[in-house]
Subunit: 329 residues, 2 copies
């Protein structure tokens, strides 16, 4: 048998209620009683059972975190931000991977409910009506992490991807580039697809330049390499590439180099994310900085506000992005 709050109460000569009070600070307890309880706790090496507490209080101090895939560095970085802030507020996180599949996402939301999490941090590619309905059914506070709800029905923390792409493209134009290729991820991806496309597109239209789009099915290096080679094989001329991720950008650089282009003198490259990759490739990548850790941290902070009924400035937080200029431009 393990030591319970009952044992502590007996040892200290008080009631369980009193032990609970000193444990949780939920009511004033006479200093003397308090000390007796604390001594008993120490003596018995008592540790409260969080499951029992969760059942009784209906708060588990646990947050469900659903991500497409933790093994993606970009995701892992945000998860770290989430966990750091969670700990700060005495929460734990249950982490699940959805692979971005709707069925799995819905299933996970259900099991998160079963686990009685206090709230849900959700990362995904697309917030469909069906998903919103599932969130509602679960009756859980939800914060979208680096995930946009086009209709803003759900609190979220994001970066302005459209604006970032706009600025990056404008930078390329200022540097003299005219034939600028956008090497993008799946357009349906509401974070790194459409918004980045459209920011790029706007500059091209404003500048009366011909948009050159290549939509990759995925955002990894291998996909990018194939895509870029394919594009180059068409024999079109090129001044610059704006790539939707660091891996795509790296692939673009390599494909261009292989095709005989000098970077940055002949072709300039800008990427998104500012992952560690950007300074480990040659030339080092100029890149849009996404404050990924902060996106995770702010999401979790927003969650604590929702949970504790603290005032919230904005339910759709946009974190500032930045651009780091390195050797590829």
């Amino acid at each position: 048998m393990n030591v319970t709050i009952y044992d502590v109460a007996r040892e200290a000569g008080v009631s369980m209620a009193t032990v609970s009070r000193v444990l949780n600070g939920t009511a004033v307890v006479k200093e003397e009683t308090r000390k007796k309880v604390l001594d008993a706790i120490k003596k018995l090496h008592y540790r409260p059972n969080a499951v029992a507490r969760g059942l009784a209080s209906k708060r588990t101090k646990t947050i469900g975190v659903i991500v497409p895939d933790v093994s993606a560095p970009v995701v892992a970085e945000m998860v770290r931000g989430i966990e750091d802030i969670a700990r700060m507020y005495q929460y734990h996180i249950i982490l699940c991977n959805s692979d971005g599949q709707l069925e799995r996402e819905k299933d996970l939301i259900g099991t998160m409910w079963e686990k009685q999490v206090d709230g849900l941090l959700f990362m995904g590619h697309d917030i469909s009506q069906e998903l919103v309905k599932t969130f509602e059914d679960a009756q859980l506070p939800v914060v979208l992490v680096n995930t946009v709800d086009p209709e803003n029905r759900i609190p979220s923390v994001n970066v302005d991807n459209r604006q970032a792409a706009y600025e990056a493209t404008q930078f390329l134009v200022k540097e003299g580039a005219r034939r600028i290729l956008f090497l993008g991820g799946p357009r349906s991806h509401l974070v790194l697809g459409e918004p980045r496309y459209s920011g790029y597109l706007q500059v091209m239209q404003e500048q009366m330049l011909e948009p050159l789009l290549f939509e990759c099915e995925d955002t990894d290096y291998e996909t990018g390499l194939t895509a870029m080679k394919q594009w180059l094989a068409q024999g079109k001329q090129l001044d610059a590439v704006l790539a939707a991720t660091d891996e795509l950008a790296t692939a673009a650089m390599h494909a261009c180099q292989e095709a005989g282009y000098q970077i940055p003198s002949q072709v300039k490259v800008i990427s998104f994310d500012n992952s560690r990759l950007t300074f480990m490739v040659r030339p080092e990548l100029t890149t849009i900085v996404q404050p990924l850790y902060d996106v995770g941290a702010v999401s979790m902070r927003l969650m604590t506000k929702l949970l504790h009924d603290e005032p919230v400035d904005s339910y759709s937080v946009i974190l500032p992005h930045d651009m780091v200029i390195r050797q590829s431009t």
Copy 2:
């Protein structure tokens, strides 16, 4: 109010015990009764409360996962392996970062106990006596993930780092290298420190070659770049570098290239980990493959065996490593 097992029982005209039985399959239930219960569950949209279940059954179906830092790609990869297998066996994971600090690790083990996790997957750099004691106090099944307990007191899943380093060094010798530098992480690190050092050292001694060791305080690119430049500044000649991580190896390549060495013709480089970095740098890195995902997956599988009293072949699993030869050798 939420719908509980009591509501289902009433709706189906049976007892709560019976509902529990069809829910958990813990006893044979007449098909007809079973159907009534299932219908009631569906009708009421009933979902069992896992917290109550956890309290009553003393099994939470939750595993605590303590890692130094999820945002390290190597770690994230293992966590993904863990979570996949956990899901397969209907477990969830609570993820925590320790930053490899003993105090935090001990603290986390305690809170994991409070959360009543069924078991603990632990990743760290060093398994001290104090930590072992904390594990014992928590009375939880523990599996070490990519973490060695020098005295083998705790079940673990690892790769034979010593052997891997031995083979890599031997490969370099066969390729004609004589002056081989080992660019290592902190020697105190029981996974990527000492074992890799010693495998390297053994070959050098067998071959009567002078060992050239450089111990970095960390294993990241920046540290490696500084270290390697410092080493090269001594003006010593070099045929090859064996680096303890992909980032260190990348740094070594860049420092050598900057110093005018051709890779691989003048200096060969081999790294550890086979992360995505290895094929995104030029030249692509020859590397020791660590089956990281599998290390995580097998650890979790071992945990389920411990939890369900399944027979276990070995409590210290060693997974096979491999070597991928690319352009850097």
